[in-house]
Symmetry: C2
Subunit: 263 residues, 2 copies
Amino acid sequence: MIGVFDSGIGGLTVFREIARRYPTLDVLYLGDTARVPYGTKSPDTVTRYSFEAAHFLGRRGIELLVVACNTASALALDALAHALPIPVIGVVVAGARRAAAVTTNRRIGVVGTPATIRSGAYAKAIHDIDAAIAVTSAACPLLVPLAEEGWTENSVARETARIYLAPLARQGIDTLVLGCTHYPILKKTIAEEMGPAVTLVDSAEPVADEVADRLRALGRDPARGSGTRHFFVTDSSERFEEVGARFLGHPIERLELVDIVGE
Amino acid sequence: MIGVFDSGIGGLTVFREIARRYPTLDVLYLGDTARVPYGTKSPDTVTRYSFEAAHFLGRRGIELLVVACNTASALALDALAHALPIPVIGVVVAGARRAAAVTTNRRIGVVGTPATIRSGAYAKAIHDIDAAIAVTSAACPLLVPLAEEGWTENSVARETARIYLAPLARQGIDTLVLGCTHYPILKKTIAEEMGPAVTLVDSAEPVADEVADRLRALGRDPARGSGTRHFFVTDSSERFEEVGARFLGHPIERLELVDIVGE
C-alpha cells in the first residue's frame, strides 16, 4: 500500500496517473484541505504540515510515500526522506529528470507557486543533472485559484497565462515544467500561449514510473493488490468531491474527513 | 485594548480605519496566515479556527474583539458572541446596516467569498432590518488572490470583475456590499464595472463606529490609550510585511510569529 499526499486537490492529477497504470495497487490519498494552499506559506510551516501528513499516512501502514505537492516536495522532501523509514518520492526531482531528458536546446522554463519558485528546488534538481542547462522560472500565484474556479480556457485564463508566460516564451525555451500539480488542468491554455515548439512536462508520468521502480526494489509488484482507494481530507469533503470529480473524471468514493493534528 | 482578528491580511483594511480615527487606541491584530484563506473552507473548520484566534487574543487581555473577516463573521460570530465574556463585533452586521441605510431603490448586491455567500449571512442581516429589500449575491473567489497578487487595475482584474459583476449590474441594484475585507483594494475596478449609479459599501467605516460605541458603553474612551499596535501572524511574516505595507500605506512595526494552536 502506498500513500499520496498533497495540500489539497491538485495531487489528484498524480493519483490519477498512478491509478490508471496500476488499477489494483492499494492507494491512500490525503489532501490537507483545511490548510490549503501551501504555495504562499513559509518553509517552516510547509515542513511542519508535511510531517503531520506523513505521520498520519504512516500510522495507516503505507510502504511508500508520494509527496504529490510541488511546494512540499521543494521545501520538505529532504527532511521527510531523512526522517521516515520508508521511500519518499517527490514531484520535483521526477519532473526535473523528465525535463532534462526532453530538452534539446538546453533551455528549460519552470512555472510554479511562489514558495516552489522561491525555493529554487527545480533549478537545483535540473542543474544536479546537467549544470549547462539554462533554467528560467516564474511564479504564477493565480493559476491555482483559476484551476479551482474551473476557469481553465476563458478570457481571464488566457490573459493571465499571457502575462505570466510571455517573459518565459521570450527566453527561447523548448521545454516547460508544470511545477504545480494544479497546472495540468490548464494545459490547453498554457500550450496555446507557449506555442507548438515548447514541450510541457507534467510530473505525474515520471512519478508513476518511479513508484513502480521503488516498489519493485522493495520486492513488491505494483500490478498486484486489491485496488483499495481511500481518500482523506482535513476540511469538509463537499468541495473536494465536486472539484475532485472534475479532476479525476469520475466521482470520488470512500472519502473521510479527518483531524491530522489532533490525532 | 481591543483585538482585531482576520484570516490573513484583508482585515488590515478594517484595522486601518480604526487606527486612523483613534490613533491612541491600543490594538492587537492577529492574522491567521498559516491557514488562510477561510473563504473556501467549511463552517466547522472556520468556527474552530475563529475560536483559537479569539482565545489567543483573549489571553492577552483584550476588552473587545473585532472579527474583521467576513467569512468568520458570517459563520462563527453568533457562537463567538455567545461564548466569549467580551463584546464581539463582526463586519457582516455592520456592513448590512450601512447598506440598508444607503439604498434608495431597495435593491442591494453582495459580493464575497464562496463561504460567506453560501452562508446567506448578509441576506439574513439585511432582511432582519428590512424584509422588503431585494438582495442579490455573488461569490467571487478570484478577487482575493488578485488583490494579494497586486493585480488590482490590470486587464485580468477588469475582465474578472466583468464576469462576476455583470449579472449583479443587470439586477438594477443601487448599492453593492464589498463583503470581503480584501475587496476595498479592488474598489476602483469594481466601481468602474458597476458604474456611478451604484454606491459601494465597505464595512470598515461602520465597524469603526461600532467599536467606539461599544467601548463607550463599557465606560472606555476610544480616544484614550497609549497607541500600542502589535501584529501577530501564524505564518512567517515576510509576505505579511510586504502585502500589509501595501494595504496600510506604511511599513508594519512590532510583528510577531506565533503558534495559536500549540500555545
